[in-house]
Symmetry: C2
């Protein structure tokens, strides 16, 4: 079966059945592929995507309107992330191998030989996003972390870049096939109806999603409402508030204003981590500087007519709110086919207006718009943030060098409680692909804030634990065997020292 | 506020509000308690529960009808588990600290300083179980793993042991108070209506549950249906199939029959891990031996009238199914107040009958009843298991010494795919409290098979990740600081070697 043909027929149910069956059939083979071989397959995918980069970027440019520089950077980042997961698979600590030696002298009598590790969940359905045609699409973080875990992946293509999706899937599938992976290790699924039907298929064991709160919530509810509920990792909405202390504003208002405008207008503001609010001390010249910098940004294409319409409506609602002052009014121009083009809009308001019109002002505006909020007293910031904001992917704080006040600490504490990533002195757009990154946060940033969809920790979302009790060595999976043929970290609790977790832990890994 | 008074008033909404507010207020203090102090508080709780053991066991005996030996063992296990979590808190690897050093020469340009670790979710609501008045009740695995994570806990008391719940909460609260923990670190909540209202309170950030599929599913749906959904860790139903190979039956039918009967009848069969099915080769004398051993077991009290009624109905349905042969018919005797007493029931059937009457036969029977299934060909076992059973907490295999056949490997593979713990040559009842144990499995064994409710890995259910980007040392939480004042394992990715996860990992911890 060729994944690129999927969903083009006229029988959605048959398409879903065929693809789900193929994914289930691919699961035993892909999940049993030894780590070095699985890593080699991922590396081959990375090489193939890199080699096809120019062709893929050209298609992406025509389908999304994003710039060549932005798309090339995103493609590189995607390739780096695939290689990162190849390393993760070989290193093996994601398996969390724990071995309790049998102990006849255990504090509770006797203890059997117990060995526990992580196994892949099964076929995963990944709903691709519109705004990152590489990093959150066919071979982005959700897909590659699931593949690394040993799960076959079905990607529900985003209709915003259909040809790029087909082309990427072809490149990835060819590389996997050459590496000896089962044929249906990665498949493409086209169509909204097909996506929903696939989510309800009992062979699907987990799902991931990046998109709107409305669509994400609907899909999350379907996933949990199945006769057999499955984990649903949705990244939905985030307004990413940023805060500037009085001393920081005094120290470097110019660079803050410029950095803010750049972060708000990059990729036409269509980033999950775009700073939607900037809190500045009243009287600072940051607002004026940001307006000037934003006014100098040229017109950019929006991703698609749906996003254009949504953005235009949010922008109108915000501009029409009493107490909201347009610093840089910007514009949205709409083609006859609904395609939009925008210049940045920056507005100013204060805490009183924000509280009074929270229903209108606090929702995410997906596009190049941000709200500057003037405050009178730093001590207001943490309580106001706790009152106004739900969970966010990021929060940002700009403080002066060596600043350490009660108000600043309260803000950092609030951010850590309600945010996935706290950015200090920088801007939240641009997510590092690394081990310590976190892209996920309390609702509605994500449906399940235990996970991240970027960075090596993302693999944990597609695993469950299984323990083997008194199973003979010859029947144990490789990671649990005493001879440890894959060389994975094994955390061992030796007999006779049953309480010493620290000791046990360090004796292993 | 005294937790023992909770829920005794006549205003459920006011009670829920008072307890939820107190839990939310306790969260900052308890979550910020340094590890050695939090561990000391848990150790004080363990000491207090051990000291009060005889009094608690006496109350438990009168309220549950379980034997002194069983309850004393369960109390010891509960105390051991509290101490295990004190060790886990100090050891600190549950924080999963990852530090990416800033790197101007990163493969993607430059990388900020990123530091990621796990933080507690917030107040947790734990619905206690009827069948383990210590290990899955007020201070059982769900409660203590959440406390260890830094979450205040509200325990919804099980109505089957109200006085024991009150008494245990008093002991635990006094020990926590003496250790300087916030007053509402542990609170008791009484009443079904109160439990549901609390689950819907926005201050509750996660819930755990042990009980029936029906109640667990209802609560899971409520948790996911909230405006802000929360993780719900429910342990619901499991039939724990066990399989005996032909060679194992030939080698040791007597001990298998005896072990099976003991495992089925222990605690009157009211254990989540009771083997509900035993597959034996046709013609083996295991069935007869098991019937004889079961027939020698005396009458035992069932936990409560609700369980009695449910068990009696399930037993009648199974005994009334054509093709089911009562080997040891057993009995259920019901007092005038609905309280039941039972002797074990063991029935025999075959695969054909099991398939034909799967609707009746495959549901869990919570009580001392098990089904022996005679098979003709070992090669049938794995396919039959895959066809018949959903997820289970445990699966058990009895093979001969050094046996290694295709049929056996297929069975082990099936078990690992659909089970939390695979037991070899023993019986699934009796769960080790250790690092490598797993008590959780695919639906309907648990609602969320990423977790365990027994053993040190249980702490992971009540944590989420947060990353700090370029935050000055003085504002970082202790586990992320370079001077590492708590001495927790830190996994560090040094600058200049960004791809080397393995290297990075080992350079740290």
């Amino acid at each position: 079966m060729d994944g690129s043909e999927a969903g083009t027929g006229r029988e959605p149910a048959a398409t879903v059945e065929r693809i789900a069956r193929a994914a289930a059939e691919a699961f035993p083979g892909w999940s049993a592929t030894p780590p070095r071989q699985r890593a080699a397959a991922l590396s081959a995918v990375a090489d193939a995507v890199a080699t096809s980069g120019p062709a893929l970027v050209a298609t992406a440019m025509s389908e999304t309107g994003l710039s060549e520089a932005r798309l090339t950077g995103e493609l590189n980042r995607t390739v780096v992330q695939i290689r990162l997961f190849a390393d993760v698979v070989v290193e093996g600590s994601y398996l969390d191998v724990r071995i309790d030696e049998a102990d006849d002298d255990f504090v509770l009598g006797s203890r059997p030989d117990l060995r526990r590790y992580h196994v892949p969940l099964g076929p995963v359905l990944n709903f691709a996003a519109s705004n990152f045609p590489f990093a959150f699409s066919v071979i982005g973080g959700d897909t590659v972390s699931a593949l690394a875990a040993g799960c076959p992946v079905i990607v529900k293509a985003h209709p915003g870049h259909p040809e790029l999706s087909r082309q990427t899937a072809e490149v990835v599938r060819a590389a996997l096939a050459e590496s000896g992976a089962p044929d249906a290790t990665l498949q493409l699924l086209v169509g909204q109806e097909e996506g929903v039907a696939m989510l309800l298929d009992p062979r699907i064991r987990a799902a991931s999603f990046t998109g709107s709160i409305r669509a994400g919530r609907m899909l999350a509810d379907l996933a949990m409402g199945r006769p057999t509920p499955i984990p649903f990792y949705g990244e939905l909405g985030s307004v990413n508030p940023a805060f500037v202390t009085t001393r920081a504003a005094a120290q470097r208002s110019g660079s803050i204003a410029q950095g803010f405008a750049t972060s708000v207008s990059g990729s036409a503001g269509q980033l999950c981590t775009k700073p939607g609010f900037l809190f500045v001390p009243r009287g600072s010249d940051i607002a004026a500087g940001a307006a000037e910098a934003a006014g100098a940004v040229g017109e950019q294409r929006l991703l698609n007519p749906g996003i254009t319409a949504g953005y235009a409506a949010r922008r109108d609602a915000i501009l029409g709110t009493p107490g909201v002052d347009p610093l840089a009014a910007g514009a949205v121009r709409v083609d006859e086919d609904g395609q939009g083009w925008a210049t940045p809009t920056v507005v100013a308001t204060d805490l009183t207006t924000l509280r009074e019109h929270r229903e209108t002002l606090l929702d995410e505006a997906f596009g190049p718009l941000s709200v500057i909020v003037e405050y009178d007293d730093e001590a207001e910031l943490a309580p106001a943030a706790a009152d106004l904001f739900q969970g966010n992917l990021t929060s940002t704080v700009h403080a002066a060098d060596d600043e350490d006040t009660e108000a600043l600490r309260a803000l950092v504490d609030w951010a850590a409680r309600s945010t996935g990533r706290l950015v200090f002195g920088g801007w939240p757009t641009g997510v590092a692909v690394s081990h310590a990154t976190q892209h996920g946060g309390p609702w509605p940033a994500t449906t399940n804030d235990a996970g991240t969809s970027v960075g090596s920790a993302a693999i944990g979302r597609f695993l469950r634990a299984v323990a083997y009790q008194d199973v003979p060595q010859v029947l144990l999976p490789e990671p649990l065997r005493d001879d440890n043929p894959w060389g994975v970290p094994q955390l061992r609790s030796p007999a006779g020292r049953s309480r010493g977790w620290g000791e046990a832990f360090r004796a292993g890994g």
